[in-house]
Symmetry: C2
Subunit: 219 residues, 2 copies
DNA sequence: ATTGATTTTTAGAGTAATCTAAATTTCGTC
DNA sequence: GACGAAATTTAGATTACTCTAAAAATCAAT
């Protein structure tokens, strides 16, 4: 039905649309897919032909209901595989994205529903991202950037906004993981860097670049 | 390094070479791959170029050591995934081949070594086929076709030579599975069909076509 | 509103895999 | 050893995806 490449494009469009509310531009897709704008235009024509996206030349694109469903399902598969890799195969959270990028394209409904059951119907992946259920519904949570919390406040790490290997390895090195309790001990006005305590055991200074990519639940 | 298609061709060549001792013919590969002889010739040139097969026009092919290693590794991945699907996700043995056909191409050494450990280093897959270890070595067993056993003899089912869905479903229906104890109660000279008892509980008549595809250990 | 920069599309071409039909080589039998 | 059948290769196309370079459209700033 859909090729892996077509699926990847739909996912890219979904993710861009998720953060920017307007029509998704060719260049934005090219950047996300690490490909040329010309290749993107080719694919947009194809996806439009298949009625997976709304596309008007020079105006950007958005997903049709069918396209949205396909993208959501791909994300579901990706995140379920990530849970499998971390919870069952004991991979570290920075090792799983690339592998899931391949596994997500395996085409079997039965496989995914059994995997979901095997993992006990997880609602979030190892990076704290919500896993859509079989109907495509995401579990919503109130979450706030660590960078938006104030001094003396405490919270629990719910997720990360970035899945870059080096970023995740950095967090691991300073003992930050999902569920960690972080208290803001101080803030430097100049660069917005934070001095924090982690699980009341460790004390670290983190840059704004880091604190903006950590999602928290206020405690 | 290798595309999924190239890997599939190498596996096909390996499997044909395994049963017929001579050079593997273009037509045999075409049949195994369900593709045209012309496509096979194209691919043989490519694989030869990459030094994965020895190829002489009109003379058939065989695997080089590199090609053999690649094929063996693919078979290892395929069979490990089948064990996962049956033992962990509770698929029936007739449901897993197609899915493993996709999973086998996922490219991650780390994934396979962790999967192997997670499954407890299985030596045989759900159809009784040996799983090569990381060095490519297969575990060998003395096994005999059920069709070659004589009346009154008893044995244990070690595996099947065929993974056709309909064949496996048929075996399941008559209560034959890996580990079943089968005793030959009688043989019809005319068509070599067998009357057998299964686990001392069931009695069935099976055709030669079936008995030739069941591998046994004499008891 | 013109102009210059940016974005997007088109043109033209390349690689990987596939096909059918035609040409060529090999095999098997007399 | 000749000859017809079978197997194999070559020729020529097609589809999916990609690229660079050039053309066209849009945006943004004066
Ligand atoms: Mn992908
Ligand atoms: Mn994730
Ligand atoms: Mn395969
Ligand atoms: Mn098998």
């Amino acid at each position: 039905m859909l090729t892996p490449t077509e699926e990847n494009y739909l996912k890219a469009i979904f993710k861009i649309a998720e953060r920017e509310k307007k029509a998704v531009s060719t260049n934005a897709i090219a950047k996300q897919m690490k490909t040329s704008a010309a290749s993107v235009t080719d694919m947009l024509k194809k996806l439009s032909e298949k009625e997976l996206i709304y596309y008007e030349k020079y105006k950007g694109v958005s997903l049709t209901p069918t396209g949205n469903k396909a993208a959501t399902h791909l994300i579901r598969k990706h995140r379920l595989w990530e849970v499998f890799l971390v919870n069952k195969l004991r991979f570290a959270w920075h090792q799983v994205h690339e592998i899931a990028e391949e596994l997500e394209h395996i085409d079997s409904e039965e496989l995914i529903s059994r995997l979901d059951a095997f993992l006990d119907y997880p609602k979030f992946d190892p990076h704290g991202d919500p896993i859509p259920n079989a109907d495509g519904r995401f579990t919503l949570r109130n979450q706030i950037n660590l960078s938006d919390m104030s001094v003396t406040q405490t919270g629990i790490v719910l997720g990360v906004k970035e899945s870059e290997t080096e970023f995740l390895k950095h967090l691991t090195k300073i003992n930050i993981k999902l569920g960690s309790e972080i208290t803001i001990l101080g803030k430097t006005d100049f660069d917005q860097s934070l001095r924090i305590s982690i699980d009341t055991k460790y004390e670290e200074v983190i840059s704004q670049k880091v604190s903006q990519s950590i999602l928290m639940k206020r405690k």
